[in-house]
Symmetry: C2
Subunit: 769 residues, 2 copies
């Protein structure tokens, strides 16, 4: 709204103006029109209006010639082309990252003799022993101890391998943190809080730049391989958004319009999740539920397209070597029973508590990092955390292996051929059964050992993740959260399974768990636990369940997942409404107007607008009585983004709004290029020049930079309505009037500060414009 008319009239109203030649210079497009300064908020209505203008121009031109018609077709299709390109690049990058992580994770253990760039699995593909049990026996793959001192067993070999593991981890982590610090400071973190803020209409230059893309991709491989407790899923969303930003800068339709650009970025976020989990529908819903601010239906279709292209590109690269699309493919053979809802809901409660604990502790630690000397040694911090992680992780097989492998193992049902110690059950030699349908059996010694190791791993993961997330390296928390939940879930699952086996005459088990039946699937508990923990941290519900549904590919298990996800959300919400991303947004003071926050206070626009009582009156321009010098002084003395224009200081009747940027530009141009414009020339915004004394200098007409349709509310408007208007229309500022008189102004920052104040937070925590 603001400014939109200014642009419209600039484009075509020249002929209507009486004093056209005086103002011709304004007919040339301004340089930098439509750009915003760094760390400023965009005006969605203005962007939309500019895009409609552009579209109108192209449509009317397209009737002129064939070439213009083709150009208009190209313009209409450019959206789909951008989506295709984003999908292709995001899918390729995800595939490359997967392959590189695979290789470098294995490099910590050993090296392939036939070709050093092979991962353990690739190295042994050519070998004859390719079953899971014999995976370690492939002769071409050599552990460091074998290679360096020719020993594969014994204490010294163990210690050598341990040291190599730590050394590689430290090397990777050091490289990563150095690269981030030197080349792309924005590449750290998961990026989702910032992307949420950017999508809501905030400018952070360089956050989605080419350097960030490159460095984040490289360092993501390094940090994941270093064995730190972090995941690559969140950063992949950032990487995909960087791709989106890159490709949208190739098309002027998107590069010159911050609103349209955000539509592309929303779709790119969907593509990111799509490749992270192999879940295109889940990705679109994630973008819709969690990340995006403005999500029209057109974006829905395009996001879906981008997500599909990305998923299929990834599948063509086939990094997991199994032509599966999904990260964790699971197939369960037994249904679940009503009575199991109780442990599932318990897991939901655990997930909610974990979410609360994680968010509180992590935010406290990040705040400490921001405010104390700790924040001055980011490299040291990463090195120390990596060292501690590596030292503690190596002895425990569940922390030594990569977190995705761990989750995959925990999710899996124990088949007949499973060699994992989690599947070390005591078989009944008399029983013969089909491979897929193994009855519940008593746990063997491996399962008991696994339970202890899992419990220790769980505690370790909980603690170390809190300190890891937020360091100056790329770090996602989907995978660590899921790992925490999967470990807890698997333990609960095994517990329930053994309880059902040993007490199948108990009334709760009697109906569905006869001896010899396969009634409990511990892998399903792991999956439910993972969903619960992820839900507790991020507060996703629908997209979470859909992602999990795409992993299992069956509607069967939606009810357990839904029960756990919703319980976890309720429990976590009881302790605080903010998910981890919103918490980080608040911590950083970004101007993010959350759609989920309901404003229920009873304040009015007059309580929020500035000037407050006792403050000096609002800086306004009058329509035909201020001189150029007056305006220049006003611009110099204030730092407002724009000034309301009123009929006169007495009547205070609002006629429009002038942007600071355009005012400066117009005056500068006029002083240089228009004759007779001096410091005491009168500036006027009306159609006709004011009547001036005979000897006064030539007046300066500025109607064309005046936005004649500024957005206004009355002083009695309830703030809940004002918040709603800001949110839905994406305003940057709004003028407050009473009976047509201008009283004050409310900016987005004022709204956010007021909301913070009402929620008993420090209003000064909102930092940007």
């Amino acid at each position: 709204l603001l400014f939109s008319l200014g642009v419209t009239s600039m484009v075509n109203a020249g002929a209507m103006s009486g004093s056209g030649n005086l103002m011709d210079f304004l007919d040339e497009p301004f340089p930098d029109v439509g750009t915003y300064e760094d760390f400023h908020t965009i005006d969605w209505l203005r962007e939309k209006s500019r895009d409609t203008d552009r579209h109108r121009k192209i449509t009317s031109k397209s009737k002129e010639s064939v070439w213009e018609f083709i150009k208009s077709l190209l313009d209409a299709w450019s959206g789909w082309v951008v989506m295709l390109l984003i999908g292709l690049l995001a899918g390729t990058l995800a595939g490359v990252i997967d392959l590189a992580v695979d290789w470098m994770t294995d490099l910590k253990e050993g090296v392939c003799l036939s070709a050093f760039w092979y991962s353990h699995e690739q190295c042994c593909w050519t070998s004859n022993e390719t079953t899971f049990e014999d995976r370690d026996k492939c002769p071409l793959w050599q552990k460091w101890s074998e290679l360096l001192v020719n020993q594969s067993e014994g204490a010294s070999a163990y210690i050598l391998n341990y040291l190599m593991y730590i050394l590689w981890a430290l090397l990777f982590a050091f490289l990563a943190v150095s690269l981030v610090r030197v080349f792309a400071p924005y590449a750290c973190g998961s990026g989702i809080p910032e992307i949420k803020t950017i999508l809501s209409g905030f400018i952070i230059r360089g956050y989605l730049g080419k350097w960030t893309l490159l460095i984040k991709t490289v360092t993501l491989v390094l940090v994941v391989s270093s064995g730190l407790s972090l995941g690559k899923e969140g950063p992949l969303v950032h990487v995909a958004c960087c791709c989106g930003n890159f490709f949208s800068s190739l098309f002027s339709k998107y590069s010159k319009n911050e609103g349209k650009r955000r539509e592309v970025l929303s779709a790119a976020a969907a593509a990111g999740v799509s490749v992270a989990f192999g879940a295109p529908i889940g990705g679109v819903l994630f973008s819709l539920e969690e990340v995006s601010y403005y999500f029209p239906l057109k974006t829905l279709w395009r996001s879906f397209f981008a997500a599909l292209v990305a998923a299929f590109t990834l599948r063509s690269i086939n990094p997991f070597g199994n032509s599966r699309l999904v990260l964790f493919y699971v197939e369960y053979h037994t249904p679940w029973y009503m009575a199991e809802l109780f442990p599932f809901i318990l897991l939901g409660v655990f997930g909610g508590l974990w979410g609360t604990l994680f968010i509180r502790c992590n935010i406290a630690w990040c705040r400490r990092r921001k405010t104390t000397r700790l924040g001055k040694y980011p490299v040291l911090e990463v090195i120390v955390v990596t060292a501690i992680t590596a030292i503690i992780a190596y002895p425990n097989p569940y922390t030594r292996q990569s977190t995705s492998e761990l989750i995959s193992e925990l999710f899996n049902d124990c088949g007949a051929l499973e060699s994992s110690q989690l599947c070390d059950y005591i078989n009944d030699p008399n029983m013969t059964r089909p491979v897929d349908d193994i009855p519940d059996r008593p746990a063997g010694v491996g399962v008991y050992r696994a339970m202890w190791q899992l419990a220790l791993a769980l505690i370790f993961k909980i603690v170390v993740t809190i300190f890891t997330f937020g360091m100056k390296i790329p770090s996602g928390l989907f995978i660590p959260s899921m790992a925490v939940g999967a470990m807890a879930g698997r333990m609960v699952g095994i517990g329930v399974e053994q309880l059902a086996y040993h007490h199948h005459d108990w009334i709760i088990f009697r109906n569905w768990c006869r001896p010899g039946a396969d009634c409990v699937t511990p892998g399903l508990y792991a999956m439910v636990g993972a969903a619960a923990c992820l839900g507790g941290v991020t507060r996703m519900t629908v997209s979470l369940v859909v992602i999990m549904f795409e992993l299992t590919g069956g509607l069967e298990y939606i009810v357990p997942l839904m029960a756990a996800a919703v319980t976890s959300k309720w429990v976590a919400d009881a302790f605080g409404k903010e998910g981890i991303y919103e918490a980080h947004i608040h911590l950083n003071g970004y101007p993010f107007l959350d759609v989920k926050d309901e404003f229920t206070h009873r304040t009015l626009a007059t309580d929020v607008m500035r000037p407050r009582r006792g403050e000096p009156p609002l800086s306004v321009l009058t329509q035909d009585s201020m001189t150029v010098e007056d305006v220049e002084t006003l611009i110099k003395e204030t730092d407002y983004n724009g000034f309301p224009v009123v009929v006169s200081r007495d009547s205070e009747r609002l006629i429009g709004f002038a942007q600071r940027r355009e005012l400066i530009l117009a005056i500068k141009n006029a002083r240089q290029r228009q004759e007779g414009i001096v410091s005491n020339s009168i500036m006027y915004f009306t159609e006709e020049p004011p009547e001036l004394p005979a000897n006064s200098p030539h007046p300066l007409k500025l109607r064309r930079i005046l936005n004649l349709s500024p957005f206004t509310v009355t002083d009695h408007t309830p703030m809940e309505t004002v918040v709603d208007i800001f949110r839905k229309l994406g305003l940057r500022q709004c003028l407050v009037t009473r009976s047509g008189r201008l009283l004050g102004i409310i900016t987005k920052k004022d709204v956010l500060r007021h909301m913070a104040q009402m929620a008993n937070q420090d209003p000064e925590s909102i930092m940007f414009n």
Copy 2:
């Protein structure tokens, strides 16, 4: 916005007012506050504001006592309870409808001797011959000819069965149309256009009432069983919305707030699609993409919950007897190949053309029905169409069977045990292969016959569906559209298959279709064709693909489906942007402001507002100079829903907006209950009474019914912005000002008329307020 402050101040500002006792009667809640008249548009901002007030009151009360706290908890949970109830009832109704349709469709053919309420399949469950081939041979199931004249073969038996088929069909159709006409005229049609309009904020009393629910459920069974070319999926959405409306009337949170009620209805629509196809995620996306207007995240979660509950209730009822959730369960064993994208895209083009043809012809026919004498004989029309359908349908096996069965057969891949004539291929006796992976074979005589019959059935379906949709019976068009596409698709699929078999040395087949390979799946073509045709008619994309994805349960076939759906949408959009639902909305003149329509014209608010040039000035109230009689005359002479209040007729400075309804009520109350209020009492809206001559009668204070925050735009605001504001904020009207002076008013109807005019349509086609 409008009115919101009125309510707020009514609730708690009593103490602040100087003349409290005079106006005490206004502190009592108005009867009917917040209700709207039939065929009027609601004001979303006002509804939202009223809900926030209610919520605030409950929250502040909840701290007073334990009982109030429990009540506040119940209130917070009532949303989930409503969703649970909707899911349960919608699932149950869908199950009952499925069972009843099954039975009554078979009743047209014969009857079960063991129990007449068994369908053919249920009847033969106990029989020994239960394979598909022997299905007809079950002795307990008797065709009418067997039962009545003891003949099962021969011409006379055929004619008798033919007659019985027609008779039953006519009986069912006559019953259905009579029930609809007598008890619930709103039960006809698919209901989706009206539900879209209702969800966008329009009141149609009784459209979602209990009678409609009951009659629509019963008649839906009747019309589907009668063999008419219609489906039950659209009407199921209407049925589910009726359930939603019923349950929301049980909770005052929803029954008293039209905005909140629409949140429930959105979720109910998702539940409806969820049970119609067994696709909960598709249902939620359908509600989001196709039906809903205001879809906050909270509604997303709740819709998902309702859709899940509904799906699982339906599965527990298990109407298909196979414990599958989905309507058409398919499993394909061969992947698709890149070269197949060409026929898939051709099917997309066919779907788009079919969509255009159907929409144009159907709308033309419906318009003729509305405007000519044809519309006066709805019963006769139904009888005639049913008779023609039954007469033509019976001889062709593909039109005789129910449309869902037909689609199911067309979707299915030819397994080794398939007995359908579509699978009558010539087997190579030398070839032994696993059951699932049958190589491409030459078509047998059955396939050739099937192709002819399918072609005839296709033409018949295309023609008859155009005349069926829109009659005064419940009728959905998902199933007929899918049938058209499935028939076309299967034919194309068989064609490609035979081409590939006979010409496997052609360059396009050489790479992927060696002799003896199973390279073409005609069932997949049927599915792609169905998606394309459904997409052409409804213009769904994402939800369509997701529904299809849930049917097949695999990501494998998303690309063909997506390609066909998008092609079909593009082709259909090239001939006209409107889907069938929007076309029917326009035909009926509902005030529906489509989110998808982009307004790109360059008009300003001043061109749209009323009064136009030459019209008498806007009817306004002045803040302190009109008498009660003046206002009563104004109310009597105009039929506006409300009047702007200005400082004086000279200054025309706007101070607020008063609703007609409240004005009438306030004056009536004051005249009855306040002393000294006579016809020439001055009415004032200011805080303090105006200074009056000594002998003037007692003035009437009406500040509390004044909405102090009416929504305003300036006369220079571009209409695209105004449309955006109306759409996003759900306004009912908006005042137009210039420099604080009131110029005119724009209502939703004005906006819709202006949009119709700009699109070269008749603005008078917008009929309601």
